[in-house]
Symmetry: C2
DNA sequence: TCAGTTACCGAATGAGCGTTCGGTTGCAAT
DNA sequence: ATTGCAACCGAACGCTCATTCGGTAACTGA
């Protein structure tokens, strides 16, 4: 026994702080590998402990994931949808997209965690769906708020069209975020601006404007 | 031994036909559960056979998935991007979206299979990325084809903007497909039309048109 | 009818992982 | 210093699942 190997740099943490580290680590690992491929071992490792310690704080992998879904889901909805101040449709769109990109830049793992494919586990999938439906409903509400008195949008009944538009904008924005994370050399402002341009102006006006800038 | 239990309705299939059934079953199961949660047992069951039979046709789960990625990926790119006939930007957008929705309706499992999160396995992920990059590049090419002589789109260099627009359209369309599969009571034509409207006109014009239809 | 091929099966193997449990030791209060 | 609490560890269990392998019987051609 060549000397006790105690000089482990690791000291003990309070339960609360360890819990926070586990949550942060779990967000990362779930975000990177998805629910099924995320292992408690890797989560524990990134949190600086052994796997069994996680069970001092959460009942199961599922419970851990469920907590994070609620936590990050609420935060996202509050801060990028409910936080939008009523105004003209264009202003609301711009503000909401702006808030969203800021959030995503601040906590990329939370974003990736939330917008992965729904986990196979039925209970987790149910909560996942509830969160996503709430987000879609929030955006749809903004859309309806921006279209007073109107009954048909693109030939489709207003509330239905609002949900479809919400889904499409959400997806388009997430697609751009995805691209952005592979091209961080582009500033958030530029990506945000293009996202708003695509959604508000569409390709039609985008092309018109681009052509207009050709002839001095 | 109470009589031989031979009256199994199942007869033997040729290797080729069994292989096809395995491919179809695998597409379904991968589409529904994702790579990690898909089990060879369930694939085999849906193909009418036990798991070990799959290994008479494919070397591994990974190989099976890789084959399907190439197969469905190629088909999708050929039939919804390369098949677009050159024309005005709006015409090309309309045709491409139309082709895509038709494909998706024809083989929903192939669509879901392709557009799931990238599997964790590095080799599978690499092929996944290659396929998706090819699709994005194809759409970006169409976009560039539609913007001759233009150097800046929305303040961003043309080729970069083309890729971003490609990603955004892809994502938005897939988001709508997702919604459509939960609301099949809406006809393909209507969803397609709204998809084109959102992408081409943007919310701005969509609102203008909706408002215009209010006052007779 | 007989023999060879091969589609198909079932049991066994081994690895990975979530989860449990009993013990150990850092830490704080006395 | 001493004691009690609880943060932490490590071994072990059980389960799922991909993959292997040897055998069985359905089909085919002679």
């Amino acid at each position: 026994m060549p000397d006790a190997v105690k000089p482990k740099g690791r000291r003990r943490l309070s339960a609360a702080e360890r819990r926070e580290r586990i949550l942060a680590a779990a967000t990362e690992v779930f975000a990177e590998h998805g629910y099924a491929d995320a292992s408690m071992g890797e989560i524990a490792q990134r949190a600086g402990v052994v796997a069994s310690v996680i069970y001092d704080h959460f009942a199961s992998k599922r419970d851990l994931h469920l907590y994070l879904l609620e936590h990050h889901g609420q935060a996202l909805i509050e801060r990028s949808i409910h936080a939008v101040t009523p105004g003209s449709p264009e202003e609301m769109l711009r503000e909401s997209i702006g808030l969203f990109f800021r959030l995503v830049e601040e906590d990329p793992f939370a974003w990736r965690f939330l917008f992965r494919d729904p986990p196979a586990d039925p209970k987790v999938a149910a909560v996942w769906r509830r969160i996503h439906d709430a987000a879609t409903a929030g955006i749809a509400e903004l859309t309806e708020l921006a279209t007073p008195g109107i009954e048909l949008i693109g030939g489709i009944e207003r509330s239905t069209a609002a949900v479809m538009i919400a889904r499409a904008s959400q997806a388009a924005t997430n697609g751009l975020v995805d691209w952005w994370f592979e091209h961080r050399e582009v500033s958030r402002e530029r990506v945000t601006a293009l996202a708003v341009a695509i959604l508000w102006d569409g390709f039609g006006r985008l092309l018109e404007q681009a052509r207009a800038e050709l002839s001095p």
